[in-house]
Amino acid sequence: MNDRLAVRKTYKLYVNGAFPRSESGRTYEVTDAKGHFLANAARASRKDARDAVVAARGAFAKWSAATAYNRGQVLYRVAEVMEGRHVQFCEEVAAGEGLSQSRARAAVDAAIDRWVWYAGWTDKLGAVLGGANPVAGPYFDFSLPEPTGVVAVLAPQRSSLLGLVSVLAPVLAGGNTAVVVTSHQRPLPAVTLGEVLATSDVPAGVVNLLTGDAGEIGPWLAEHDDVDAVDLTGAPAARALELERQAAGSIKRVVRPPAEEPDWAADPGLSRLTPFLETKTVWHPMGL
C-alpha cells in the first residue's frame, strides 16, 4: 500500500519558453467534470497576453526561416514526447472532460497522431500550395506559401487536448508562431502540453499558452496591431462578432468560430493550414 503523499503540480502559463505565473497574480479554480477541485490555474491578464505577443514576434523570424524539414522534425518530436506522457494526458483529459478512460485514451491518441500528420505536412506545403505561373512574357514567375506571422488562437473550450492540438499544430506547421488562450474550464492538458513543448526542441516563444478567459484576453489579442491573424474557434459565442470586428482594425486574417464545436477526430484536410498562409509571388526576367 502506498501512503506517500503526492507532490502536486503548480499549473502556470507557458510564455517564451518559461513557466511564469500570471503577472497579475491571479489564479482560478479548475474542477473536474463533476465539480471536484483539480488545481488552481493561472488566470492570464492582458499584460500576459502582451508579453506573449512580444515572445511570439521575437520567435517568428527564426521559426519561419527554419527549413521545412527541420520544422517537421520538431513537430514530430512533440508527438514523441507526448507519447511518453500518455498516461498523464489521459488522466487530465478524462478528469477535465469527464470522459471514460477509453475515450480519453482515444482523444490523446488522436492528439498525438495529429502532430504526426502536421509534422509530415511541413515540407509538402510548398509543392501543394505553390507553383510556377506561366505568364505571357519572358519571366520566370512562381508562387510559394509563407507563414502569416503571429497567430492568436482561442482554443476550443470543450476538447481540451485534441481540439487544442488540432488548432495549434497547423499554425506551427506553416511556420507561424502562436499565442494560445486555452480552454477556460479545462486548461490542465494545455499546461502539460506546454511542458511537452518546452522539452521538444520547439524554440522558446514559438508557442505561448495562456490559461484563462478568452472573453477577457481575446479582445486584447484581436485588437493587437502586432498580431497578424486570429483563430476564433474557441471564442465565446456572445463575443465572437465583436472580436471579429476588432480584428478588422489591423486587417487580421480571421477564422470564424463554427456554429458548434466540431468533431475534432475528423480528417482536417488543409482547412486549418491555409488560413494562416500567405502566397508570395516572385517575378524575374529570363534573358541572356
Partner: protein, 331 residues
C-alpha cells in the same frame, strides 16, 4: 613575324599608346585591369532593355515631327554598297544618288556618306567631289577581321590614301570573346593612328557578341581606344542592328561623355530598311542620349534600301498620297 607588305607596317604594330583619358588612366595598363574595368560596368538586363525599346518604339511620330525625322534620317544615311560584285560604275551610280536622293525633289537633303570597300574609295571620292558627302571605307579585313594586324593596317592606309574620310574598322571578335581585351584595344589604337585625319568608326559586330553585356563592354573598349564612332554591325552577320543593341550603345556614349567630356557617335548598320525603323532609332537617340546626338556628326544609319523607303514616305508627306517603287531610283 615578317611582313610581305610595307615594312613600315611592322613598326605600326605597336604604336605608342596615346595619353589615356584622365578618369581611366589605369584601365588599359594590363589585360587584368581592362577586364576588371569592363566587368565592373553595370550589367544590362536584356528583358528590361527590350521592354524599354518596345515603349520607345510605340512613340507616334506624325506630321511635322515625321517630316523632320525623315529629312534628318536621310541626312544621316551612310549609303552603302559592300558586294563582291561592286564596280566603279556601281559606286558612281550610288554617289549620284547620294548627292540627289530624289531627282524629282531638290529640297531632299543629301546623305551623310557613301560607304564602300577600300579599293573603291578613290572612285567614290572622285564622284563626290565638290560635295560635303563623306567617303567611308570599310577596312581591317572587313567583314571577318581575320587577318594579321599588318594586313589590317595596310588595308586602312590604302583606303585613306584612296581618299576615305572615314574608316569603318571591325574589331577582332575572336580576341574579344577569348578575353584578350587588350589586343582588341591595341588594335583599335593602331588603326586610329593609321587613319590619320580620317574618322574612325569601330564596328563591334554585335551579332557575334550576342549579349548586351558584351555590347556594353565592347562599346567602352572602343571608346577608350579612341574610336570616333561605334557601329553595330558589318551587315554580313545576322542579327545586325537591333533596337536593344542601339539602346545599349547610346547609353554607353551618353555615359562616356558624362565622365570624359568626349562625345562619340553611333552608327547602327544592317537591317534598318524602313522609315518606321529609322524613326524608332531617332526616338531612341532623342530620349536616351539626348538631342546632342541628333545630327549626322553623331548618328548615322548604315543602310542601302532604307533611303528609298525614306524617299517614298517623304513623297507621301509632300503629295498627300502614296507612291510606289518606280517613283524612286534604283541604286
Amino acid at each position: 613575324m615578317t611582313s610581305v607588305l610595307d615594312p613600315g607596317a611592322l613598326s605600326a604594330q605597336a604604336p605608342p599608346r596615346p595619353e589615356p583619358l584622365a578618369p581611366f588612366a589605369d584601365v588599359t595598363r594590363s589585360d587584368a585591369a581592362v577586364r576588371a574595368f569592363l566587368h565592373g560596368l553595370p550589367g544590362v538586363d536584356q528583358v528590361g532593355a527590350e521592354a524599354r525599346v518596345a515603349v520607345l518604339g510605340s512613340r507616334s511620330i506624325k506630321t511635322t515631327a515625321k517630316a523632320w525625322a525623315i529629312d534628318t534620317a536621310i541626312s544621316m544615311v551612310d549609303l552603302t554598297t559592300l558586294e563582291g560584285a561592286d564596280t566603279p560604275g556601281k559606286v558612281r551610280s550610288l554617289a549620284a544618288k547620294a548627292r540627289r536622293p530624289d531627282p524629282g525633289d531638290p529640297t531632299t537633303p543629301p546623305v551623310a556618306a557613301v560607304c564602300v570597300y577600300g579599293d573603291l574609295a578613290s572612285v567614290a571620292k572622285q564622284a563626290l567631289e565638290g560635295t560635303a558627302i563623306k567617303v567611308a571605307a570599310v577596312a581591317t579585313a572587313f567583314p571577318s577581321g581575320r587577318a594579321s594586324r599588318a594586313v589590317k593596317l595596310a588595308d586602312v592606309r590604302d583606303a585613306v590614301a584612296g581618299g576615305a574620310d572615314e574608316i569603318d574598322m571591325v574589331i577582332d571578335r575572336g580576341a574579344f570573346l577569348a578575353g584578350r581585351h587588350l589586343d582588341v584595344y591595341d588594335e583599335i589604337v593602331a588603326v586610329k593612328e593609321a587613319c590619320g585625319d580620317a574618322h574612325l568608326k569601330v564596328i563591334l559586330e554585335t551579332g557575334e557578341l550576342v549579349t548586351l553585356d558584351a555590347v556594353r563592354r565592347a562599346s567602352w573598349l572602343a571608346m577608350l581606344a579612341g574610336g570616333d564612332f561605334i557601329k553595330t554591325s558589318t551587315g554580313k552577320v545576322s542579327p545586325a542592328a537591333t533596337l536593344p543593341v542601339c539602346l545599349v550603345m547610346m547609353e554607353a556614349v551618353r555615359d562616356f561623355r558624362a565622365v570624359t567630356g568626349r562625345q562619340v557617335g553611333v552608327k547602327p548598320a544592317g537591317g534598318i530598311r524602313t522609315t518606321k525603323d529609322a524613326v524608332k532609332h531617332l526616338v531612341l537617340v532623342n530620349e536616351v542620349a539626348g538631342p546632342d546626338w541628333l545630327s549626322p556628326d553623331w548618328f548615322r544609319f548604315g543602310a542601302s534600301s532604307l533611303l528609298n523607303d525614306l524617299l517614298l514616305q517623304r513623297q507621301k508627306l509632300r503629295t498627300g498620297h502614296y507612291s510606289g517603287p518606280d517613283h524612286v531610283t534604283i541604286d
